[in-house]
């Protein structure tokens, strides 16, 4: 790829500074290649199952857990919440394309007018606020349940996050998310990439480290450790804490950009949320 970009840069002149960095699709393909080399026995779609793609023992326990999925109640509760009209008579279905059914693969997206990344969770709260309802807390609880239901209706759809190359805001948000993923943070001085790219598959305490590829397909997740269902950004906060970095606020600009990057990398994989993890 670099070989192609270089002559273009010479021609492109000024633009060169902007385009020298690999774009989203190049990033995604590089990830696919890297992990396919690293885990030659793992079919591509399997990466959507996180560490269970390659940890056979943990996988057995997980398959057992999935016999009575611990997130089932969250889906039911989420559906009930989703279908309950607001005080003004409108409902969530009015805010989303296709009535909110089977749309999670398109999130996050870049809202050009607002100049920001919109995650599914942010969109749910925007919907509430537009209908004079109070915003819900982001990491756990009713909002995570609504998100779980919406994820469930999107199962099997391929992740299809868009970063339009002619939309400078979108490109910049993606680039910021990417930078976050590779930035060392915390007293232990680790980047997300230190663990999930460089050390993917290796054991850290109880778990093998999952791959960046597939990290965004299965949210929200019921984690045994949490004892409840939580959103992807709850996991961001936890991974920050693990390296002794103070987590940022859920749905902060940084976390939304990060989610934009991470979700794009999973493009083409089938959604399989909500998920269960230890």
């Amino acid at each position: 790829m670099k070989k192609i970009i270089f002559p273009l840069c010479l021609i492109g002149g000024l633009l060169c500074g902007l385009t020298a960095m690999a774009g989203p699709e190049e990033d995604r393909l590089a990830m696919v290649e890297y992990y396919s080399d690293r885990f030659p026995d793992v079919p591509l779609q399997e990466f959507a199952n996180g560490l269970y793609a390659f940890d056979t023992i943990a996988r057995e326990q997980w398959i057992e857990m999935e016999d009575f999925p611990p997130y089932e109640i969250a889906i039911e509760d989420g559906q009930a919440l989703f279908e309950t009209p607001f005080a003004n008579g409108k409902s969530y279905a009015d805010c989303f394309e296709n009535g909110g059914i089977g749309v999670k693969q398109n999130y996050p997206y870049f809202d050009t007018d607002a100049g920001e990344v919109v995650t599914l969770e942010l969109a749910i709260n925007h919907c509430r606020e537009a209908n004079d309802e109070e915003a819900l807390p982001y990491m756990i609880g009713p909002l995570a349940e609504i998100s779980a239901y919406m994820a469930y209706t999107s199962r099997g759809n391929e992740m299809a996050v868009q970063v339009p190359s002619d939309n400078t805001g979108a490109v910049a948000a993606y680039a910021a998310g990417k930078q976050f993923y590779y930035t060392r943070r915390g007293q232990l001085n680790f980047a997300c990439s230190s663990c999930h790219i460089q050390s993917a598959g290796l054991k850290l305490r109880a778990d093998r480290l999952s791959t960046t590829l597939g990290q965004a397909t299965h949210w929200p997740v019921y984690r045994s450790k949490w004892g409840e269902i939580g959103t992807l950004q709850k996991r961001f906060a936890e991974c920050n804490s693990q390296v002794w970095a103070k987590p940022l606020e859920a749905q902060s600009v940084e976390y939304r950009n990060l989610e934009y990057f991470l979700s794009y990398i999973s493009n083409g994989l089938e959604l399989n949320g909500p998920g269960s993890r230890r």
């Binding site: 930035t183 060392r184 970095a245």
Partner: protein, 109 residues
Amino acid sequence: MIRKYAFVTICISALAGCGQESSDSDIALPSATFAESYAAAEAALAAAEANRNAWSKTDGILEQSKTAYDEGRTDDAIELANEARLQAELALAQSISQKKEWKANLVLE
């Protein structure tokens, strides 16, 4: 290798930071009062927070410093405040250096 390099960079930047500020609030000054040490730590932490990169233990150490002071253990309190300040300065230096150095972690490009 990369990690070692990054760590050294952080240390160097942090030391440089200390050097610059030594005129008004030096960690080693024996005459620094608790109030001075604590205020310096708070200011350093605010700077790290403003750069969106504080470390997770720093708040707790500042709290311990306050508790030590309330219990009359002033020397301990100053030492803890200085530790919190050092952490905050290292966090700030880390975020500043990483604004360039993050590219060193791009293993796939």
